[in-house]
Symmetry: C2
Subunit: 254 residues, 2 copies
């Protein structure tokens, strides 16, 4: 049996706890034996009281410690760990492997997804990006990751940095375009709901077509007339700047 401990109680930590608990019901191969949090109340809806600790010196012995806290809190957690030579990983997209403490074996366990509080996700479809210092540790991470997901990738720190930047484009920036769509609707008394099936289909299209094949619209067609009409229509200068730059970028893409 492989023993796992999670450190943290935020969004990612809670979704990981939920995923491990669910996997455990199917198979006992990997067990979440304990979770560390500064505030016990944040986890009592997910775990029995006796599997939660608030003290670093009460941490049990485990095969893997997953630090699932904000990027800027990782260092503090690492420096508080009261043991050596154990496998300790973080779940961050942007923190390099090397920034973990040298006293323990280092690794990364990065689930690439956007987690929403109280919104269940199917963890089995979430890609987990793994990195470690040696093959034995990688094998262990792989076994543990496979217990909760069907989608495992070996990704080094440089690749992970690229993935994190790409994720900002396809997630954060995309959501901001939804926000602009919402603002344009509000300014013109049109319900934003009308756009929701389009938003979902735009994402689903990418499962079957490459983004290049899926590209449509006035910029792609080089429909100068429609572009001019739309630029005249947009009164918000910020929206207009973004419209012009993205239109030009699509046009340059051929």
């Amino acid at each position: 049996m492989t023993k796992v401990i999670i450190i943290g109680s935020g969004n990612v930590a809670q979704h990981l706890i939920f995923a491990f608990e669910k996997a455990q019901k199917a198979s006992n191969e990997v067990q979440l034996i304990q979770v560390f949090t500064r505030k016990r109340e944040s986890l009592v809806h997910l775990l029995d009281y006796d599997r939660i600790t608030t003290e670093y010196n009460e941490l049990l012995e485990a095969d893997l410690y997953i630090i699932a806290v904000n990027d800027d809190a990782i260092q503090e957690v690492v420096s508080n760990l009261p043991f050596k030579n154990r496998l300790v990983v973080h779940t961050s997209g942007s923190v390099p492997l090397s920034s973990l403490n040298n006293e323990n074996r280092k690794g990364v366990f990065y689930p690439l997804q956007t987690f929403t509080k109280n919104k269940e996700v199917d963890f089995r479809t979430i890609p987990i990006c793994l990195e470690s210092e040696n093959a034995t540790d990688f094998q262990l991470l792989n076994t543990i990751a496979k217990s909760i997901s069907e989608s495992i990738y070996a990704i080094n720190s440089e690749q992970r940095k690229a993935l994190h930047v790409a994720a900002v484009f396809v997630n954060n920036f995309t959501n901001h375009l939804y926000q602009i769509g919402n603002e344009i609707c509000q300014e013109n008394q049109v319900p934003f709901d009308i756009l929701k099936p389009l938003i979902v289909e735009t994402a689903h299209k990418i499962l079957a077509l490459s983004p290049n094949e899926a590209q449509t619209g006035p910029a792609k067609r080089n429909d100068i007339e429609t572009i001019k009409v739309q630029e005249t229509f947009i009164t918000n200068t910020n929206h207009l700047t973004i419209y012009k730059i993205l239109t030009q970028s699509i046009q340059n893409n051929g």
Copy 2:
């Protein structure tokens, strides 16, 4: 029984034909009696030979004629119609009602969705935006639209213009951000597939949360350190320009 004729054989026309044919199997209330196309071969996989015409003067009498052709071909179709005082609508997001011919009654039947050749969509969930010159025609359009969709909206030409601009942001521009994500992955030997679950979840989130509530990431957190690291990482000047402008736009949004 209400009789409908579609003029056109492109993407939108074919999806409309498919939707009407499907609806007809459930109820005979609305019937697609004929389709006009310049090339008969483009539709023989969808319709019996005798319901396709390539001649304007063979057009039957119907309650509604739906012009589903490219924006710049609408005028030509309209000028070729060999009848008067009938209800003629187009399916365009950007062409105003007024640009239809005065000899017939005008209307708009705009399904707001991105259609992919050979990829079936559930038409019942697609919003159809209707516009007409009078209440009787609107009632007729509503009956016909309801036979293929559960999501009908009364949208005037000005609102439709806004919707079309908003659609460019949430569909065309969003897809271009997927394209940039793909390019960043390729440059760094990371499979784009890793990002697909994130892309789909980003879209689905919007069904439950407002874009403002769903916004996450370094720009939203005002995480200057991560933004600096990412700006240094991005070598493509076009990607960097877009990164900076969208980051700033999110930051200004509060």
